[in-house]
């Protein structure tokens, strides 16, 4: 007899577990572009992001997740960026944000 399906499922934990996450790619990214570590999370990049104004793309959130070793879906998210470069003009820390997009895509392309 087929098992009854009651429609319940098990949610995957949402917690970022830094004991389990593999930070190797994250470390590589930060070694190549240490300035990314100076992000103060102000959100200027995301506020004026062309893609972010039309889609759910949030550059600040995605690169922060990547730095924590949460790579899943990051490559696809970064593909939403149109590389217009407005974020780089706004960043108060002078981070080459467009370079960050390209770097993350390069590092996580096979993910």
């Amino acid at each position: 007899m087929a098992a009854m399906n009651f429609g319940f499922g098990i949610n995957r934990p949402r917690v970022i577990d830094l004991d389990r996450n593999n930070l190797r790619k994250s470390d590589e990214i930060l070694r190549e572009m240490p300035e990314l570590q100076t992000c103060i999370g102000c959100g200027a990049c995301t506020a004026l992001c062309t893609a972010g104004n039309l889609t759910s793309f949030n550059f600040r959130r995605v690169h922060t997740l990547v730095r924590r070793g949460e790579y899943e879906g990051a490559y696809e998210e970064m593909n939403k960026c149109m590389l217009c470069g407005k974020c780089r003009l706004a960043c108060p820390r002078g981070i080459n944000t467009r370079g960050v997009v390209m770097l993350i895509k390069r590092k996580l392309g096979d993910f």
Partner: protein
């Protein structure tokens, strides 16, 4: 009779006030509760943002004091303060024409924030412990091994209504960054994380230092307050926080959890206030007459303040304020 000024508290503010008054030929008596002068600075290793050894500052102040003619009495706890003098714990009464209160602050007792396990679990430390360990030349985990993962938690005992500490202690942000850098340089292989609510880099060179910590030393800053810490089976500490910039809960285990403790007002402030009719701020720090032109004067003529007795301050600010206080005392004595 020569006019005499009594200074209550022999930390940097007290020493500097005494030095300035004695340079002006005013007989000065400096009272210190502990057996040596220097206050909180005696237990500190290096000072932000220049990494100047704390003893360099203290040695010079003590040296100047030696040739100054200031009368110093240590192991002398002052119980009561009035405009006409002070009363010691021994019951002895000392008369003065003006009193400068430079009693500083009290370090927040991290045990009050029980959820972080200070004094309960191994490998939970405070910033004061780290300074002591740096002075002793050896920072290590309880079992003596070198830490590979270190977390700092900002604002322990600051901006926290739950422990009746509404105020910002101001200097702990930069202290946390300084110690994170010192530990990263001591243990280059270790990962260092700073968990913060806000990072307030108010002083010259502080922001540059913060950036250097991020960019050159790869110290990770996570915006989120650690909610709890618990011991792991292998004697490490597991911490939980929200990574607010990603909107996700975060957990990790660390070898050392360092609580960046804030400044509390002294319990003696309320006693002094009751004795002499002085005003306290809601934070418990003594209230200067105003924050601008009379910031080293109390609301009572003849009683003055310098340093962290009125608010959290760094060493440089306390030293400058001490000179201003001495200036105001001199003016007062001329008028009186």
């Amino acid at each position: 009779m020569a006019r005499r000024v009594i200074i209550v508290g022999g930390g940097v503010a007290g020493i500097q006030t005494a030095l300035t008054l004695s340079q002006r030929g005013i007989p000065t008596l400096l009272l210190e509760r502990e057996s040596e002068l220097g206050g909180k600075l005696t237990g500190w290793h290096k000072l932000f943002p220049s990494f100047t050894p704390a003893h360099e500052v203290l040695d010079e102040l003590r040296q100047r004091l030696n040739g100054s003619g200031v009368e110093v009495r240590t192991q002398c706890e002052v119980c009561h303060v009035e405009r006409s003098g002070v009363t010691l714990a021994s019951g002895e009464r000392l008369a003065a024409d003006a009193v400068v209160v430079t009693t500083g602050f009290t370090l927040f007792d991290a045990r009050v924030k029980e959820e972080y396990g200070y004094g309960i679990y191994d490998n939970v430390y405070t910033t004061a412990d780290i300074e002591r360990m740096l002075n002793e030349g050896r920072v290590a985990m309880r079992d003596g091994s070198a830490p590979r993962r270190i977390a700092f938690l900002h604002c322990v005992g600051s901006r926290d209504e739950k422990v009746c500490q509404h105020h910002c202690s101001k200097v702990c942000c930069i202290t946390g960054v300084k110690q994170a850098m010192e530990l990263k340089e001591m243990f280059p292989e270790a990962d260092v994380f700073n968990f913060y609510m806000d990072i307030r880099m108010f002083g010259p060179g502080y922001e540059e230092m913060y950036r250097d910590a991020q960019q050159r030393l790869n110290i990770h800053f996570v915006r989120g307050r650690i909610s709890e810490a618990s011991p792991t089976l292998d004697g490490r500490v597991q911490i939980k926080a929200e990574d607010t910039l990603t909107g996700r809960p975060l957990k990790m285990s660390v070898d050392m959890l360092i609580l960046i403790i804030g400044m509390r007002s002294n319990a003696s402030n309320a006693v002094f206030a009751a004795d002499a009719g002085l005003q306290c701020q809601p934070s418990g720090f003594l209230a200067p007459r105003d924050l601008f032109l009379h910031n080293t004067e109390s609301n009572v003529g003849g009683i003055f303040y310098a340093g962290a007795v009125t608010a959290p301050k760094n060493i440089g600010e306390s030293l400058s304020e001490a000179v201003v206080a001495a200036d105001r005392v001199t003016e007062y004595l001329k008028r009186a």
